[in-house]
Amino acid sequence: MKKRKNFFLFYLPFALLLVFIIFPYAWTFLTSLKNTSELYTKTVHYLPEMPTLNNYRFLFTNTDFIPSMLRSTLIATVTSCIAIIVSSMAGYAFSRYRFPGRDIALSGILLLYMFPQVLFLTPLFITFRNLHLLGSWVSLVIAYCTFTIPFAIWLMTGFMDEIPQEIEEAAKIDGASMPQLFLRVIIPLLKPGMVATGSYIFINSWNEYLYAVMFTSSETRTLPVSLFSFIGEYDVRWDMISAGGITAVIPVVLLFMLVQKHLVTGMTAGSVKG
């Protein structure tokens, strides 16, 4: 298998693709280490002359970045918990039982993926307004469930299919009741899948902007909303804005790296099988 790789078919395209993918992050990171004055020179300075962490200090102490980050963490965590509980139960039903309406329900849930986010915007806004939920973090948890639950059910059904049925049958013969079976046998086996799905939901909720900007007020805004509002508030501080971008991306990247292998397996399983 030790063949020498062709330069034009392997190394060159790979290097170009990697540069294309990594460059925006590298550039943002370099910008975040510069002084404001260094951004607005006649020719672009590639490396910061005097690298500084002042931008990060300013971001953490003078803006609402940290409170927004905590709010985003809360919303993303609650959304993940709800979606995981609901979707692992549904996944169990879809994977282990054949019942009337099963196929229609399963493909119907997949079809929901197709409906655009903008379609839900008006109904949710009006409903939240009537329920006096606008500006509250609860409204965002509900809104995020709309686009995470269908996908989570699909993922969890896939993860459930991978678990051999023999273990459950043995537990049933031993006289385990349904709740016992679910809590003691299924959940421990399903844990890696639940963690992967939960992380995916967390990442998507953490990243979301369009609902967040409409359903929050200036006191309750989430991380993406705060971050983007800096463009208006601190017009020329692209160094500080870059620091915010780098800080906002680190948690999701770390989380993704941890669950990446499992998540990718779960996501690709359905489509590869056909």
Binding site: W27, A90, Y97, V118, V272
Partner: protein, 299 residues
């Protein structure tokens, strides 16, 4: 015999329904109900700035869009946005997947690295690219001028000729990893002896790709492309953050138009109408796409 059938009936298992109940209840309340509500709203004159005059107007909104310059401009932009973005994502994703399918050092690590754009917040994507595209101080102008490709600075996002293309490039960057992981998974399920047999009979690298790889990954490409087309069609985050459809209507897409009507103008009725049009277009497209590709696969 009858006895046992009755027994089975009596013991009918309600477990799946109980397990499904929370999911179905939530889906009905927060997905199905809003869909119907949006369709209902689309037949109304319903604007936040003029609530007193809220009323049913029948098909008026649906007719009005065809006299609306913004809507008409958005149609061709949407076609370009979806077709160019998804084709390039596919092409680069395929190349990336073929590369990542080789054996080399740090493969796992580099694979994870190349997937990062896919989980990056839309706001951060917009910020990074806005700063790179900046007309006066952006790095893109500087690099292109140093390379002698560009004579003068271009304000990429505030120029009607470049605004949409610049954002297409950003979207290609964002979506390439998704294509790559789907195709990669499919590549890894190809039995290796097929290639060994091809080696024995002296096939070259292109023949191997054409006769073994491509037929095997084709179904995955069909499904992934469909998912991507739907996703890119519906996506408004980057466009909204970077140019809000401007300058003029030069980067306005259908979904973005619906979002701006609802979120900025608070014109709920009209915005819902545009969103319903978008949904109908996608349903139609999906039906044709699946029919066409199924026919092709059966051949």
């Amino acid at each position: 015999m009858t006895n046992s059938v009755q027994n089975v009936r009596k013991k009918r298992d309600y477990t799946p329904y109980i397990m499904l109940a929370p999911a179905l209840l939530l889906i009905c309340c927060i997905i199905i109900y809003p869909i119907f509500y949006a369709v209902f709203t689309s037949f109304q004159y319903y604007a936040m700035f003029d609530l007193a005059n809220r009323r049913f107007v029948g098909l008026q909104n649906y007719i009005q869009v065809w006299h609306d310059d913004a809507f008409l401009a958005s149609l061709s932009n949407t076609a370009r946005w979806v077709i160019v973005t998804v084709s390039l994502q596919f092409l680069l994703g395929l190349i990336l997947a073929l590369i990542l399918n080789q054996n080399f050092r740090f493969r796992g690590f580099l694979r994870s690295i190349s997937l990062i754009p896919w989980v990056t917040p839309g706001v951060v994507i917009a910020l990074m690219w806005m700063w790179m595209y900046n007309g006066n101080f952006g790095v893109l102008n500087d690099l292109l001028m140093r390379a002698g490709i560009l004579g003068d600075k271009v304000a990429w996002l505030s120029n009607a000729h470049t605004a949409l293309n610049a954002q297409i490039l950003t979207m290609v960057w964002q979506g390439t990893p998704f294509f790559a992981i789907m195709i990669l998974a499919s590549l890894q399920s190809i039995p290796i002896d097929l290639y060994e047999a091809a080696d024995v009979s002296g096939a070259n690298i292109w023949q191997k790709f054409y006769y073994i790889t491509w037929p095997h990954i084709f179904p995955t490409i069909v499904i992934t492309s469909l998912l991507r087309i739907i996703w890119v069609f519906n996506n408004v985050e980057v466009l909204y953050l970077m140019t809000q459809g401007g300058p003029g209507y030069s980067s306005l897409t259908l979904s973005l138009n619906a979002y701006i009507e609802a979120q900025k103008s608070l014109n709920f009725g009209y915005g819902s109408t545009i969103a319903v049009y978008g949904t109908l277009i996608m349903i139609l497209f999906m039906t044709f796409y699946l029919k066409f590709t199924r026919k092709n696969r059966e051949r």
